[in-house]
Symmetry: C2
Subunit: 351 residues, 2 copies
Amino acid sequence: MSAPVTISIDAMGGDNAPDIVVEGVRLAHVRLPHVRYLLFGDAARVEPLLDRYPEIRGVCTLRHTDEAVSGDAKPSQVLRTGRRSSMWLAADAVAKGEAAGVVSAGNTGALMAVSKFVLRMLPGIDRPAIAGMFPTERGETVMLDLGANVDCDANNLVQFAVMGEVFARAVLGLEQPSIGLLNVGSEELKGNDAVRSAANTLRESHLPIRFHGFVEGNDICAGTVDVVVTDGFTGNIALKTAEGTVRLYSTFLKESFRASLLAKFGFLFARHALHKVKVRTDPRRYNGAMFLGLNGIAVKSHGGTDAFGFANAIGVAVDLVAHGYNDRIRREFERFKAAEPAPAQRAAGTG
Amino acid sequence: MSAPVTISIDAMGGDNAPDIVVEGVRLAHVRLPHVRYLLFGDAARVEPLLDRYPEIRGVCTLRHTDEAVSGDAKPSQVLRTGRRSSMWLAADAVAKGEAAGVVSAGNTGALMAVSKFVLRMLPGIDRPAIAGMFPTERGETVMLDLGANVDCDANNLVQFAVMGEVFARAVLGLEQPSIGLLNVGSEELKGNDAVRSAANTLRESHLPIRFHGFVEGNDICAGTVDVVVTDGFTGNIALKTAEGTVRLYSTFLKESFRASLLAKFGFLFARHALHKVKVRTDPRRYNGAMFLGLNGIAVKSHGGTDAFGFANAIGVAVDLVAHGYNDRIRREFERFKAAEPAPAQRAAGTG
């Protein structure tokens, strides 16, 4: 953990960039003193922030660019015209080997398109996926895809299962993580063609994977499995529905504790316990969605997060680097190909 | 509200049938004394329960059948062999005009198949949808489809929007309910073909509908719109993810209040406030999913609910009857056809 690691940062990405980005670097620096940062952004705006936090001067290198990807830019447009943007340059630093991973709070679609173009895919993977962590009753669960691919076929889902499995072993340290496919019912006959066909492949294949079978929406937070696999449309909606539900619950709590004098009094005694729950469900703690399947580490921070959340996203990237996720997944795909050529590959099994 | 209404009941459907079903009828009777019940089920098991609650003897008629649909029966198998089952007979009572609506806590897929077969579709509707209510920060939101159709095209989604709109006006009493299409982003370019094409139709059509545009998962609980429209795969997963998140949050609360003596003391004062939140998020209060688009009222209770939940499902059916939902939607579809023939119909606009 103490070898120097360089992370490249899109200093201009996100709703409150570059302020919360640089402040996030400062927070991350406290926890991860061995990490160096390559910041890409507008020097006129970033320099004053670095002046404000002299303690990170020594670990930060700023590369100026006056271009940035806007929040509503179309990915295709960014691919055509965004080569001098802070996002592109930050991803390119990973491709060039100057940094071990990139973190951006910018436009998700653009970051995915740029990362795919600049970093390229790992061999054997057709599409990258966005993975994130969820708090559950049993600990934490990783879910993918959270929005990279709105339409997925069975082959994509099988590949996501493999990527999630390796992640759970390499980064979470689980020995035999269990994998569940998100569906509308646990009976074999339910669901659409893609999930049923993916389940058949995972069940019948000789992949060294512990396939649990189908899981439902309530299983995500229950922690029924270690890895929940789904398409990007459903995964994104499940993630945001869960976030919205947490917000609703805490609003109800607040209203309830404001409703009477007794309740206000109760709040004084309950405050500590309530605060602990708030911390456990704080979305900033789970900030940092991982782009898996690329030939390099890329992490997307929530665009509206604060410095605390951005620092967590940096932590996620450093974790992936420290555990050598990409080398592991490259080796695992070799192993899977040896076990059974078909499922992880689109072409005939010549692997 | 006081004209007599008859509801037919599948007394053998659900995990704890017929016990919680008959007890649910008893609870519903307290709130809705004008409602009569036609119960279908095994007399040897239901009669003793009616003996236990003499106050509902006068409003209940029991029709014996010794067949019941099992929880794991395939819908196609029930359609072939289930004509004497309590579920089928209860739905058939609506088709025959003996009851104004049917309530069952049995197998969802079977109830949908039987209801479609026995009650038939309303004219102009290709597929029925399952609709349910969600608590939100602004009140309540109706969402559909919650699982009747795992694959939906744009035309289905447009029809769901119309059915949800009429429901919000007829049953919830909203004057101009707003409609949102669930998607992975609010930008027009995101999402799959079906939602994008449905959005274009809703936006450009002359349907007298207040179309808000796309909404995301977090908008469900935020109450951004009155009606959330989605396919049955996504809707079912969003519903169950929200339920699982509420369960997780309350588990975290319980753990937190047990963690120390001060927290336990705090709980004593906070108990009332916490109980209010529990009531507001209690899934039993939202029990009773409505099958919309059929030529008759059918309501599905959660299979694992208790008597309180089942009584709520009866209340939902009585509400739909009292507000004449099916007549309203039949008239509205006429009106929509007059406004613009294309979107709500599959064939060329000859309506």
